[in-house]
């Protein structure tokens, strides 16, 4: 069974890039364009990993991470913040909000997969 990744990202090109990269490498990808839709999707179909953009319409990534952590079935799901925020404290803020990891944009397609692989439970790493 393919590992399932939920991408919450409002930029269409970036969403496409991530989806393409993950799909090509054997992941099952689901996506949402805003936080509320993302939370709903995660709740109905619990993923193995969530990639979360920080700058989102309606509610930002920090709020989304906090909301996901409130849902009991999603409490253990790793959340990776993928963001172009680079001001001091941004990373800490993301981790405080409940994120498990932090990847700065722009992503490097050559190293991105190995960056997220460490967050999967060991028995599901096989692509």
């Amino acid at each position: 069974m393919k590992p399932r990744v939920l991408i919450i990202e409002d930029n269409e090109q970036n969403l496409y890039l991530l989806t393409f990269l993950l799909t090509m490498n054997g992941y099952a990808v689901d996506s949402a364009n805003d936080g509320r839709a993302g939370i709903e999707k995660a709740r109905t179909n619990v993923p193995d990993l969530i990639l979360l953009d920080i700058q989102l319409p309606i509610m930002d990534g920090y709020a989304v991470a906090r909301a996901i952590r409130q849902v009991s079935v999603l409490a253990a799901v790793p959340i990776i913040a993928v963001t172009s925020y680079a001001m001091p404290g941004d990373k800490e803020k993301a981790l405080e909000s409940g994120c498990t990891g932090y990847i700065e944009k722009p992503i490097n397609p050559e190293t991105f997969l190995s960056q997220i692989a460490v967050y999967f439970p060991s028995d599901e790493t096989g692509r």
């Binding site: 990269l21 700058q55 172009s84 001001m87 001091p88 992503i107």
Partner: protein
């Protein structure tokens, strides 16, 4: 203030009284002395004249006594030895003359031949010394104590002579002192306490006085005259009952007695005392009057001064609206006028100052408002700048994410195979995109540093492994250019405390610069202690830096025109960021260079610290 205020009054009072009292008292003292002496002299003169009168009476009596004896002797034709003079004749004479108590005749042996007192005939009188005078004319004896009669008597005598002139006896008359008593008892001119009496040379009272009997022995100063020729003298003495006496003494030579006329001093000087006491009362009255007057005068003098002082106190207390009274004495009114003028000017100056102050305060307040507005604007623009930077960074990275991501996917051949030309061009796209990303990161870094938003960490890390890791990361680039790459870390350098990531950033920047600008030769890295800190040097064999370019090295956006202009890609921000990061960590950066031979960039990290406080 009260003490000082009363002092001027007291001074005035004091001097006023001194000026009055001193001459008055001196005058009085002289007056008292003079009147006292004059009074006493007056008393003495009076006593002396009383004594003289009484002495005269005594002399008269004595003359009568001797005259009477002489008369009897002549009448009786007394012959030799008085023989034939009968007792009856003598008795008749006694009655006739009536001055004597007894008449008798003595012979030269002192034996009483015949006497009116029969019992005395045959007695010898010569045992009394002064009876030698019996045989001289006009003799009267001093008073003597008559043992027979137990009282004092005097004897007057006339000698009896033979026809040849030889003294054969004496006719003598014995008289009592009743006349003397009467004379002495006369008190005219002696007042209440005055008296006169006679005292013998041996201190025996001859006549009684108020408190003393006849025959009593008294001791009175000066009553036993030893000096010859002194007929009368005056003195004061304290008598036995303690009363001060004024006395006049007269020497009555025929009787060998002193006539004392005396009066108590109190009575004698009573008029003087009255005058003196009146005088004292008057003086006291004058002093009281003068004191009261001077009190009033001193008050009236001091009051304007007091008022003036009170006004000055009020003004010094801050009430500038009071004015000193200008209606006092000339000097004070001058002073008050000057003082009031001064106060008025002071008031003017103060209101000017107050106006200045208010003006200044309103200016300051206005400026403060302006400054606060400016500060708010500055803070607002600062905030806007920060959020602009954050937004710009995000907005720039988002498209770059797509560019780099899709270029990477294409380059990896995930979409499909590419020919060589496509791969080459895609490589240019990729390197341009990465350069753009570098620029964005550097601009963001320098903006953060300048805004003071970049904080450096202080954590322990292993320094040698940091150096090795960094050198290794640059190795592929060096190998591509066929450059040697050496690294030596002093074995004593171990763990450091600071911001590992920023140190790595600096070292990587210097290394990539060195590799970038060096075409032949190599790059060497040395690390070792310098003092308590660690110095990291990166030496290259590149073109070097001209001395005139050195100052430009660390300025943002300054790339050197070194003949190879724009051949080297770079943001021009690297060294500037390195310098600022090192400043934040408390370190320094240095450069040595020989143009055409190479450069050594080095930085010093302080011992064990990352960021300065």
């Amino acid at each position: 203030m009260a003490a000082r205020r009363s002092r001027i009054r007291i001074r005035l009072l004091f001097w006023f009284l001194v000026l009055l009292l001193v001459p008055m008292t001196a005058t009085n003292l002289v007056f008292v002395l003079l009147s006292w002496n004059a009074g006493r002299s007056q008393v003495w003169r009076q006593l002396s004249s009383v004594a003289s009168l009484k002495e005269n009476s005594i002399q008269t009596w004595l003359f009568q006594l001797s005259h009477s004896v002489g008369t009897i002797r002549a009448r009786e034709h007394l012959g030799e030895s008085g023989v034939g003079l009968s007792r009856d004749n003598l008795k008749a004479d006694l009655l006739f003359e009536n001055l004597f108590e007894e008449l008798f005749v003595v012979d030269t042996d002192g034996r009483v031949v015949v006497s009116t007192e029969t019992g005395n005939e045959g007695k010898v009188l010569f045992d009394k010394e002064y009876f030698s005078g019996l045989f001289t004319y006009g003799f009267v004896s001093p008073p003597f104590y008559d043992l027979t009669r137990q009282t004092m008597r005097v004897i007057a005598a006339a000698p009896l002579t033979s026809p040849s002139g030889r003294v054969v006896g004496s006719l003598a008359g014995l008289a009592n002192l009743a006349v003397l008593d009467r004379v002495m008892a006369e008190r005219t001119g002696l007042g209440e306490t005055g008296e006169t009496y006679l005292v013998g040379r041996n201190g025996i009272m001859v006549t009684p006085s108020g408190s003393r009997q006849r025959n009593e022995v008294v001791r009175l100063a000066g009553v036993s005259p030893s000096g010859a020729g002194v007929l009368s003298w005056e003195t004061t003495y304290r008598d036995t009952s303690g009363i001060e006496m004024v006395a006049s003494f007269h020497w009555v030579a025929p009787l060998d007695v002193v006539l004392v006329a005396q009066q108590s001093q109190d009575e004698a000087l009573a008029p003087v005392l009255t005058i003196l006491s009146t005088n004292l009362w008057l003086e006291a009255l004058f002093i009281l009057l003068a004191g009261a007057t001077s009190l009033i005068v001193s008050r009236s003098l001091a009051r304007p001064l007091d008022d003036f002082a009170a006004t000055a106190m009020k003004i010094s207390g801050g009430d500038l609206n009071v004015l000193a009274r200008e209606d006092g004495p000339w000097e004070l009114s001058q002073m008050a006028r000057a003082f009031n003028a001064m106060t008025t000017r002071l008031r003017g100056s103060i209101s000017e100052l107050t106006a200045y102050k208010e003006n200044l305060e309103s200016l300051v307040a206005q400026r403060t408002i302006d400054l606060e507005a400016a500060l708010n604007r500055a803070e607002e623009s600062d905030r806007l700048k920060s959020s602009f930077l954050a937004t710009m960074s995000h907005e720039l990275r988002t498209p770059l994410n797509s560019i780099i991501g899709f270029t990477g996917i294409l380059g990896q051949g995930l979409v499909g195979p590419l020919n060589d030309e496509q791969k080459k061009q895609l490589g240019f796209v990729m390197s341009s995109a990465r350069h753009l990303l570098e620029l964005i990161s550097d601009i963001l870094d320098i903006s953060k540093i300048e805004a003071g938003e970049l904080k450096v960490e202080t954590k322990a890390y292993d320094f040698p492994s940091l150096v090795v890791r960094t050198v290794k990361s640059i190795e592929p680039l060096a190998r591509k250019k066929n450059l040697g790459l050496e690294c030596s870390v002093s074995p004593s350098v171990g763990t450091m405390v600071g911001d590992q990531r920023r140190v790595e950033q600096v070292l990587l920047n210097l290394l990539s610069n060195a590799v970038k600008f060096t075409e032949t030769g190599g790059v060497k890295v040395f690390c070792g202690f310098e003092g308590p800190g660690v110095r990291v040097s990166v030496a290259d064999t590149g073109p070097g830096i001209r001395p005139e370019d050195r100052d430009k090295l660390f300025k943002p956006f300054q790339q050197l025109d070194s003949g190879l202009n724009r051949v080297h890609q770079g943001t021009g921000l690297g060294l500037s960021i390195c310098q600022r990061l090192l400043n934040l960590m408390g370190g320094t950066i240095d450069v040595e260079s020989v143009p055409g031979q190479g450069s050594i960039f080095s930085f010093l990290l302080p011992a064990g610290t990352g960021s300065p406080p």
